[in-house]
């Protein structure tokens, strides 16, 4: 036990002495989390709208008015032929062309005809195009129901869910994103420092010196893991605390439970880092191997693209992605307020995963040195 404490002290001394690296491990990630969470926003304003009004009637100008008045759209160009519409879309000068056909006024008075306008949406960015389409549909339907009078209850009842869905997204995204981004940044750093640290000792030869001391292997490894375990805690809770202060992220569930999960979870990235370090020769190799895993973990963790839409094989591979579990647990505890019974399977999985990967790393470690 004393041996471990001495080693932990040595690691902390090394960490705090390295003035260049220390901010990269502690301050930078937290600053990044806060900064990047501001980016977590799918709501778009000032979409550039091209108007192609073939009808030139009172109704059509009312519709145009409704679009420009809604502060999502900004009329930038009047268009009178398809060539011009194509050119503007090509130059990325507009996001949407609103085409109002001839006889729009006449047709729109008929109760059963569908809204007869056309949208030409620049769909290079698919997520943005989806939003544009939803805004445009909502505005048009709204206009139609106004035009046909409120008597058409069925028509207007259909519209309401669409508008409600799109008008309150900002706050939600940030609260979902922040804990996820914190977990991502923390995992990235933990895997990397753990992998690099051991390899560095090997590269500069100090591991040889440790090998001739009466230190046991498991003491050596625990001495390495514990300091990084604390750094992981620091990054996570600093990020969450600032998130609470700045973005008011909800904390419905128990923080103690989250801490319990975190305490067990951290051994997984630590073990992955350790395992990488046993499998490579130099710091450069360790870096590129870690990068390979980190980028897969981050892009597949379900924060940016839902896990459920991935193909089966990817979902199967994703079972090994520790971040996937963390993102889920974050949501369950912070947003939904799940109790121990619901989190228990996740804790168990992480426990088994942690033991498995660390055992594998220790086994490899014994073989290589």
């Amino acid at each position: 036990m004393r041996n471990i404490l001495v080693l932990v002290r040595k690691e902390f001394l090394q960490i705090f002495r390295n003035r260049q690296l220390l901010p990269f491990m502690t301050v930078l990630p937290v600053v990044q989390v806060i900064l990047l969470t501001f980016a977590a926003n799918y709501e778009i304003k000032n979409l550039r709208l091209g108007i192609w009004d073939l009808d030139q009637s009172a109704s059509s100008s009312q519709l145009v008015h409704k679009f420009t008045g809604a502060n999502f759209f900004q009329a930038t160009d009047l268009i009178d032929n398809q060539k011009k519409a194509d050119d503007l879309l090509m130059q990325d000068a507009i996001d949407l062309v609103l085409v109002i056909p001839k006889d729009f006024e006449k047709n729109s008075k008929l109760q059963n005809s569908p809204p007869a306008v056309q949208f030409q949406i620049n769909a290079l960015n698919n997520s943005k195009a989806g939003i544009v389409q939803n805004y445009a549909n909502a505005i048009t339907q709204d206009f139609m129901s106004e035009l046909r009078g409120n008597a058409n209850v069925i028509g207007s009842a259909k519209i309401i869910p669409v508008t409600n869905f799109w008008y309150n997204p900002t706050l939600n995204y940030k609260t979902i994103m922040l804990p996820g981004i914190v977990a991502e940044v923390m995992t990235l750093i933990i895997i990397l420092i753990c992998a690099l640290n051991v390899v560095r000792e090997r590269e500069i030869g100090t591991i040889e010196q440790l090998n001739v001391t009466p230190l046991k292997k498991h003491e050596f490894i625990l001495g390495k893991l514990i300091p990084f375990w604390f750094i992981g805690h620091f990054i996570f809770w600093a990020g969450i605390a600032l998130g609470r202060l700045i973005f008011h992220i909800p904390m419905v569930g128990s923080l103690g439970l989250l801490e319990l999960f975190l305490a067990i979870f951290l051994f997984v990235p630590l073990g992955i880092g350790l395992f990488i370090s046993t499998a490579v020769e130099t710091q450069q190799q360790a870096l590129f191997t870690s990068f390979f895993f980190i980028i897969l973990f981050i892009l597949m963790c379900g924060l940016f693209t839902p896990v459920e839409t991935m193909p089966d094989w990817a979902q199967w591979v994703n079972q090994l992605n520790p971040l996937k579990y963390f993102v889920e647990v974050n949501r369950l505890i912070l947003l939904k307020g799940s109790g121990f019974a619901e989190i228990y399977p996740f804790i168990l999985k992480m426990f088994v995963y942690g033991i498995g990967i660390n055992a594998l790393a220790i086994w490899r470690f014994k073989k290589t040195s």
Binding site: L35, L36, F38, D92, A123, L196
Partner: protein, 206 residues
């Protein structure tokens, strides 16, 4: 829906992934190798040799330039043949875009390496400070228009933002040089700044 009839997310995802991987790999490769020379002391040897700092940097960049270009072609071919990304525009223009972007990323790596002392610092600087911002601010995951203004400014100084515009314009829209000279120009200007600043710091270190 123009340019992307079925609203496929690969149209956004593949250019984003290409930009991210190219940037990280190129910046990492160069920053780490130069930092390694510093750590092992071989940079001292180079700097007392009659080779000028320009030559050192050019010599360092060329092998990694070839590697990274190869890398980008493999990813783009995978994008086209495995994920069905269209290739409407000119191949020469696409190669030029990859070339310009790779050079920009490599020189960013050199800039990082002149500012750090150890390999670990170089790695953390390149990976931690480049990866998440590139991913989240380049228009890869969140639309740039929806970012708050300060972040939009940051987004503009991220090379990947401009590369993603280039790739999408060339591959999906088939745009010619007259439409996309601006991102090209910005990337080249960035490269010039990175190289000038790193030569300055190399000279100062001497």
């Amino acid at each position: 829906m123009i340019f992307n009839q079925r609203l496929l997310s690969v149209y956004l995802f593949i250019p984003g992934v290409i930009a991210l991987i190219l940037l990280i790999i190129s910046a990492l490769l160069t920053s780490v190798t130069l930092a390694r020379e510093k750590e092992t002391g071989t940079l001292e040897l180079l700097s007392i040799s009659p080779i000028s700092p320009y030559m050192i940097i050019i010599g360092k960049v060329i092998p990694y330039l070839i590697l990274s270009l190869l890398n980008s072609f493999i990813i783009i071919l995978l994008g086209i043949f495995v994920f069905g990304l269209p290739m409407v525009g000119s191949v020469a223009l696409l190669i030029l875009a990859c070339f310009v972007y790779t050079v920009a990323s490599l020189s960013l790596g050199i800039l990082i390496s002149t500012r750090v002392e150890t390999q670990q610092a170089a790695m953390f600087a390149s990976l931690v400070s480049l990866m998440m911002p590139t991913m989240l601010l380049s228009g890869f995951i969140f639309p740039i228009e929806s970012l708050p203004l300060p972040l939009q400014l940051i987004s503009n100084i991220i090379p990947a933002t401009h590369f993603i515009i280039l790739i999408k314009s060339i591959m999906i829209k088939g745009a010619g040089i007259s439409l996309i000279w601006k991102p090209f120009f910005i990337l080249i200007a960035m490269t010039a700044v990175f190289i000038l600043v790193s030569i300055q710091s190399l000279k100062r270190n001497k």
